[in-house]
Amino acid sequence: MFNLENSLNLPLIWYALIGTAILLYILLDGFDLGVGILFPFAPSDRCRDRMMNSIAPFWDGNETWLVLGGGGLFAAFPLAYAVLMPAFYFPIIFMLLGLIFRGVAFEFRFKSSGLSRRLWDYAFHFGSLVAAWMQGAVLGTFVQGVRVAGRRFAGGAFDWLSPFSVMTGVALVFGYALLGATWVILKTDGDTQKWARQCARYVSIHVALFMVLVSLSTPFLNDSIKALWFTTPTLFYLAPLPLISVGMFVLLWRDLGQQKESRPFFLSIGLFFANYLGLGISLWPWIVPYRFAFWEAAAAPPSQSLLLVGTLFLLPLILAYTGYCFYTFRGKASHEWGY
């Protein structure tokens, strides 16, 4: 049987791959969920049309990374998938229901008018908002850890609900809104862009606030995280990460006051990346925090081997044609529906 166990550290590679898939999901669907979060605040219907068009060709591909995150976790770490999904039962299902409303709103909104169009506007907004908040709450619950007995989740249906998870939920809503606002700056001009700049400024203040709050409260959830960030010498190795974040934030703030069109978006991505990396370092090597390390939850080596070979060929291909699609729809979005 085909097996790469002896030549590669399969669980480690898969831990990195799943981490990358989730990061790509957060960045890519982040900006289109963010557009949904900001949607009703836009100054006119024409702005809303442009915002919608700027993400219409991409949202489906972006959301596929969520399926890869879930499917990949099932394939590479079935134990983690089996423990975590019941632990996140309500937030996952309500996230999915939120994604349903926002996903179909793309099609339905442009085929309706008047009151029903307004209704789909709000379906798009609240669907995005609920999905974003639930994802943040899942993240918060993950960082806090879940109760496990044997190979099963052993907690209650509302274990996930805590002040910390409520806070991470709100934090992610603002984070996505920042990605969304800077995306709109990139993809539009005129009134829409001007409004998006104001939006981005307002949102970024909240992002900074929540970054500080989450960063300061996370170490107090777990002693090893606290030790990691507040003792020498690891403190010195890790210090560049928050410093770079602050630097990027200052740059972002300045860019928003000037006429920069693309840099704010990439700086927002940079901020997300730095935070994600910090979180990843804190949670290493857990896949079910504080109970299973990633190698304890790994699928059988032949299973990980098979999918790894496929991934090595397919992932570059996927990135290539995803890039091609972004290239095809480059430039500013129009307010007219395309087909």
């Binding site: 085909f2 489906d60 099932f74 309500f94 793309f106 085929k111 496929g310 397919l314 996927i318 087909y339």
Partner: protein
């Protein structure tokens, strides 16, 4: 008695979300391939009728695809939320199959759908055609993996189950190409094609009946009837082969399909009846002697196993399987009859004039959906009480989630999916009411539907909108 049983509730929830979801891929698979053919005809002939047909149906495709995507994402997470025992134990085997579905199909479909829908002014005709073909291939690749995974659960092989209860892969070729997979794959893809053909044919017939859009309507009805004439009888043959494969590997399912309790030689075919699970008989049976043996063993006196060969706790819910099977076969026979009628009318050169036949086609427009749903009811209920046939029971698969959360989320799913279904149907009917727009025609009246922003009319600007 069942109402507070988490296993029962989890099954109802999964059956509901799955049954709802399958309606959309069944249509998407067929319509994607068909659109590729239409676009090919258009590029080849330059006939604007094909363009009008394509541009109308791509809108319906988009609505359908969108609902398929969002309800499909739900399923990829429900394996964990509802069936974590199953996910934990079978993950080694099924995980890679589902992973490959995402990597080889979902990204492909999602990315090129963008170009297919919005790329008219951004890419050339050939690239656009390539995007349509890629999306069509994506839907088939997706069907390949998911049906492989499902078939492995029906006819598992190529694995060992160790003392820890977990499944470990032994031979991937045996797992992927398990005994029921080729049959199920071909049967399902053909079903998807027929489903699409009858929807398209029904819409074409509606236009002819209303005496509107005659040229595009002829394309729709004509192409649909080619499928009904050629593919509907083929499906009967494929279904028969699939049934014989089931007889070999899952004889209890076939016994339930036949409503047969006693193992017997020369078993009769029960046309109708009411299977009584407790009394172990099929009441009020209308039988044709020896036909069941003849169909299943190709020998009028062949032996067919009855349900009493299995202990009661290993039998599927018989009435569900029995009746679902009859609905599926009934729809198939109606489709074949439609093909025969279409052939006769075509030879008499009155296919596009026979108004009664157009009404008939309109009535049969949803027949494919009924057949697909009832077919899945047969195969999924018929393999109960096992989730992995003869190896793992459904009751072992359930998540440690109580009855209350499942009830709440079930209610939420029913509410949301009802809205989704209503809205989806409404907007699809709206596209149908508007109809295809021919380049030489002035943009059509609005047929009572308001479009004050003129967005739809504008997007349909006649001709030449691609580079």
């Amino acid at each position: 008695m069942y109402l507070f049983d988490p296993v029962f509730l989890a099954r109802i929830q999964f059956a509901f979300t799955l049954a709802f979801h399958i309606l959309f891929p069944a249509f998407t698979i067929g319509i994607a391939s068909w659109l590729a053919v239409v676009e090919w005809r258009w590029l080849k002939s330059g006939n604007p009728v094909y363009e009008a047909v394509y541009r109308m149906w791509v809108k319906i495709f988009a609505i359908n695809f969108g609902i398929g995507v969002v309800t499909g994402i739900v399923l990829s997470y429900q394996f964990g939320t509802n069936w974590s025992g199953f996910a934990d134990q079978t993950g080694n085997v099924l995980g890679p199959l589902l992973g490959f579905e995402v990597l080889t199909a979902f990204f492909l479909e999602a990315s090129f759908l963008g170009i297919m829908l919005f790329g008219w002014n951004r890419v050339g005709k050939k690239v656009h055609f390539a995007a349509t073909i890629i999306v069509a291939c994506g839907t088939l690749i997706s069907a390949f993996w998911i049906l492989s995974a499902n078939s492995w659960m029906q006819t598992p092989q190529g694995f060992i189950r160790k003392a820890d209860g977990l499944f470990y892969p032994e031979n991937w070729i045996q797992i992927i190409f398990n005994p029921s997979f080729p049959y199920r794959f071909v049967h399902m893809v053909t079903a998807a094609y027929l489903t699409t053909a009858f929807v398209v044919g029904g819409v074409g017939a509606y236009y002819l009946w209303r005496r509107r859009h005659e040229a595009p309507a002829r394309v729709m009805l004509g192409m649909a009837m080619i499928m009904a004439i050629l593919v509907a009888p083929l499906q009967l043959l494929l279904g028969d082969m699939h049934g014989l494969n089931t007889l070999k590997h899952q004889p209890a399912k076939v016994a339930a399909m036949e409503g047969l309790w006693e193992t017997q030689r020369g078993a009769p075919l029960k046309l109708f009846g009411w299977p009584d699970q407790e009394k172990e008989i099929t009441r009020y049976a209308l039988e044709i002697p020896k036909l069941s043996s003849l169909i299943l063993t190709h020998d009028p006196n062949g032996e067919v196993k009855g349900l009493k060969d299995w202990p009661p706790e290993d039998r599927p819910p018989v009435a569900w399987v029995f009746w679902s099977f009859r609905i599926m076969v009934g729809m198939g026979l109606l489709m074949i009859a439609t093909g025969v009628m279409a052939l006769i009318l075509f030879l008499k050169k009155t296919l596009f004039q026979s108004r009664w036949f157009h009404l008939w086609c309109m009535a049969l427009a949803p027949s494919g959906f009924a057949a697909v749903l009832s077919g899945w009811f047969v195969t999924e209920i018929g393999r109960q009480p096992f989730v992995v046939y003869n190896v793992m029971r459904t009751a072992e698969s359930v998540s440690p989630v109580g009855a209350a959360p499942i009830t709440v989320t079930l209610a939420a799913f029913i509410l949301v999916y009802t809205i989704l279904f209503g809205a989806g149907t409404y907007y699809i009917l709206k596209v149908i009411a508007k109809g295809p727009v021919m380049p030489e025609e002035a943009p059509f009246g609005t047929h009572g539907l308001k479009d004050p922003l003129g967005l739809e009319a504008r997007s349909e600007k006649p001709g030449g909108s691609h580079v």
